[in-house]
């Protein structure tokens, strides 16, 4: 049984974030892999040890502050679970939350969970639009597409990015990097949502969850023709070769 924890679905659901959970869940079900999703909201106790996959979405400023305060109380357990190989996907605001701090426009540093090595600072304008990145997983690279909408600019320290920007802005519009990767943690500004169209990434996450349980097996291939076409169309529109 793969156990999934959707953190704060009530608050962090700005950009169709639940699509990531739907995609993860369905791709398990279609392969007869038992999967259970728990939705945990503000103030509810989270036992990170019992989960394989934790998802954090994005919210508005006010909602993110509420979440940040709540999650801070569980920071150490969360960090320990990450060191232990917990699979995490964090999008947009959820992604920013994993870094060390957020520097607001008036120069004030708002502390974040500090489980990964990066920081975010408020930008002048919003970075909005379609994005394509090149991601390398297990030695093979592929393209991932999505939509970004953020004003925070993220700068990585010692952690690797999720991918390199082919089109769009990515973390800050300057260094050509998008998202973050550390152990089994993936952070990204890409929504759209991210997982339904980018099935190689989704399947990779499912594989990591199984591996963590000591199950090493090839995932049964699925018919992904809709997903592939949806990706190819966006790549073509961004002037990039498909696939």
């Amino acid at each position: 049984m793969i156990r999934v924890c959707h953190l704060y679905p009530d608050l962090l659901n700005l950009y169709g974030d639940r699509g990531n959970i739907i995609a993860f869940q369905q791709r398990c079900r279609w392969r007869d892999l038992p999967v259970q999703v728990d939705s945990l909201n503000l103030g509810e106790k989270v036992d990170f040890q019992k989960y394989d996959f934790v998802f954090l979405g994005g919210g508005s400023d006010r909602e993110q502050t509420l979440v940040s305060v709540d999650l801070m109380k569980r920071r150490d357990e969360f960090a320990a679970a990450i060191e232990d190989g917990l699979v995490v996907l964090a999008i947009c605001g959820g992604f920013q939350l994993l870094g060390s701090y957020f520097m607001s426009r008036n120069g004030e540093n708002i502390p974040c969970l500090d489980v990964l090595d990066f920081y975010t600072k408020a930008g002048e304008r919003r970075l909005v639009g379609n994005v394509a990145i090149e991601v390398e997983l297990n030695g093979s690279s592929f393209k991932v597409v999505g939509f970004e909408n953020h004003s925070g600019l993220t700068f990585l320290g010692n952690n690797k990015p999720l991918g390199r920007v082919l089109s769009g802005n990515g973390n800050n519009g300057r260094d050509g990097l998008e998202g973050v990767r550390y152990k089994n943690v993936f952070g990204s500004y890409l929504h759209g949502p991210l997982l339904p169209k980018n099935v190689r990434l989704t399947d990779y996450l499912i594989g990591l969850c199984l591996e963590r349980r000591g199950i090493k097996k090839e995932l049964k291939p699925l018919d992904d023709s809709f997903e592939k076409r949806a990706c190819e169309i966006m790549l073509r529109r961004m002037g990039l070769p498909g696939r």
Partner: protein, 459 residues
């Protein structure tokens, strides 16, 4: 200044004529041209409207409510100008007054009923002083443009704070709308829907406004009608659903008709409109409350509403070889969910067409499709013959349906919109439902019209 106003009106009227000749609807451009020539055009014209200006805003139902109100007033014998085509930015609003003005700069209408885009409310209120503001609801919509709903409700709060006096017509069931009476202290007439069989104890839909706008506590609900509309109260302060002066009971939605018992001022009447959908009862209630506020004859208002014809793509019905084809505009999760509710309420077999574009006016970010509860279609997929997905993001739509549990072999994509519509209408099901985002709506409607007989008379 008078000369510049005349010139602006003339240029606006000429622009409208030219753009009509070229087959455009030309509802924003004339206003834009006129404002270039004389930026005070709207202010000057609006100040002359004799009986008053009515502004309609909110996320969903603006166009329908505006059309219903314009209809009620016209049938009561008043001369009305309105931006009925839904061009609701300040340019479209200006156009509607230019249409009514003579070259000399004089306005002849008694009332102006203006649909105004939520984000344009502050700008319009700077130039136009409405006697009545009607707010329908607030849902998430085009987040790439407006970012967050909090921001929209915030700028409207600010704009209203700068108004000296006006009357409000507010949806009591939406806390995001009802808050404005408490904020402004302006006199308000509330409309709302009482508890009924369909009301739910919980809401699975992605809800807005979970928190009290005044103290930040989570609102507690007795029941929901849809999304965040329902009976709520704040456990932390005295904010709660106001008692509506116009309240609907026993809503009946069937056979292309929506009706309810309407209670107001100790009286009870039947309200009926020839369009589907619970949300259309809300629109009709907003229009009814407006009529009541303006002191119109109640029976006249009800008669006018019963004759209301849906505007393009608001569950507009066409007749194709004896079977109904419904066209519905979709632009945000709540609107789409309501459209799907109508689809499900139809117990027969259905062919479904969905066109999704991601141009600026549609919202460039299509992630909102994942906030729509297509899972309800997956549950009863047997009553659907097939789904044909079209538009710039048709593939995205196909992905969404597949993940919602609709069998993949019932889902197809087609780049050719005309062919897709023909295939939908010629499907073996008893009815066709067509959903389209904004920029695909008129092309889709044109194609349907070309291949069907308009169905108004066939009902």
């Amino acid at each position: 200044m008078k000369l510049r106003l005349s010139l602006a009106i003339l240029a606006g009227k000429l622009t409208a004529m030219v753009s009509r000749t070229y087959g455009h609807k030309g509802s924003s451009l004339p206003g834009m041209v006129a404002r270039r020539i004389y930026p005070g055009a709207l202010r000057d014209l609006a100040a002359q409207v004799s009986r008053g200006i009515l502004v309609v805003s909110g996320t969903n139902g603006k166009t329908t409510t505006t059309n219903m109100i314009a209809g009620i007033l016209s049938e009561a014998g008043y001369k009305v100008t309105s931006n009925l085509e839904g061009a609701n930015l300040i340019t479209g609003v200006t156009t509607s007054l230019i249409k009514d003005a003579g070259i000399g700069g004089k306005i002849t209408c008694d009332y102006a009923v203006l649909e105004v885009d939520e984000a344009s409310v502050p700008r319009v209120l700077k130039e136009v002083k409405p006697g009545l503001l009607i707010l329908t609801n607030f849902f998430r919509d085009q987040l790439d443009r407006y970012w967050e709903l909090d921001k929209i409700t915030g700028i409207i709060r600010e704009a209203l704070g700068q108004q000296k006096q006006m009357n409000l017509i507010l949806n009591a069931d939406d806390p995001l709308v009802a808050q404005y009476q408490k904020i402004t202290n302006f006199p308000a007439l509330f409309y709302g829907m009482g508890p009924n069989e369909q009301s739910a104890r919980t809401s699975s839909q992605t809800r807005e406004g979970k928190f009290c706008p005044f103290c930040g506590n989570a609102l507690t609900y007795e029941y929901f009608h849809y999304s965040q509309l329902g009976r709520y109260h704040c456990p932390g302060c005295d904010f709660n659903r106001p008692d509506p002066q116009v309240e609907a009971f026993d809503p009946q939605i069937e056979g292309g008709r929506a009706s309810c018992r309407l209670v107001f001022n100790g009286q009870e009447v039947e309200l009926a409109v020839q369009v589907q959908g619970l949300y259309n009862l809300y629109n009709a209630m907003a229009a009814f409350a407006t009529g009541l506020q303006l002191g119109l004859d109640v029976q006249g208002v009800l008669d006018s509403l019963s004759r209301y014809q849906p505007v393009t793509g608001r569950m507009e019905v066409f007749n194709y070889k004896g079977k109904p084809a419904y066209l519905n505009l979709v632009k945000n999760p709540t609107g789409f969910n309501e459209g799907l509710a109508s689809l499900r309420a139809d117990r027969g077999s259905k062919d479904v067409f969905i066109a999704i574009n991601d141009n600026d006016a549609d919202g460039r970010d299509v992630s909102w499709l994942w906030d729509v509860d297509f899972e309800m279609l997956g549950e009863d997929h047997r009553s659907y013959n097939r789904f044909i997905c079209c538009g710039l993001r048709g593939e995205e739509m196909a992905v969404r349906l597949k993940y919602a549990g609709v069998p993949a072999d019932k889902v197809t994509t087609d780049e050719n919109v005309t062919q897709a519509i023909k295939d939908t209408l010629n499907g073996s099901a008893g009815a066709a439902y067509l959903f389209s985002t904004y920029t695909a709506l008129w092309p889709v409607q044109k194609i349907i019209k070309a291949i069907t007989v308009e169905g108004g008379a066939a009902r």
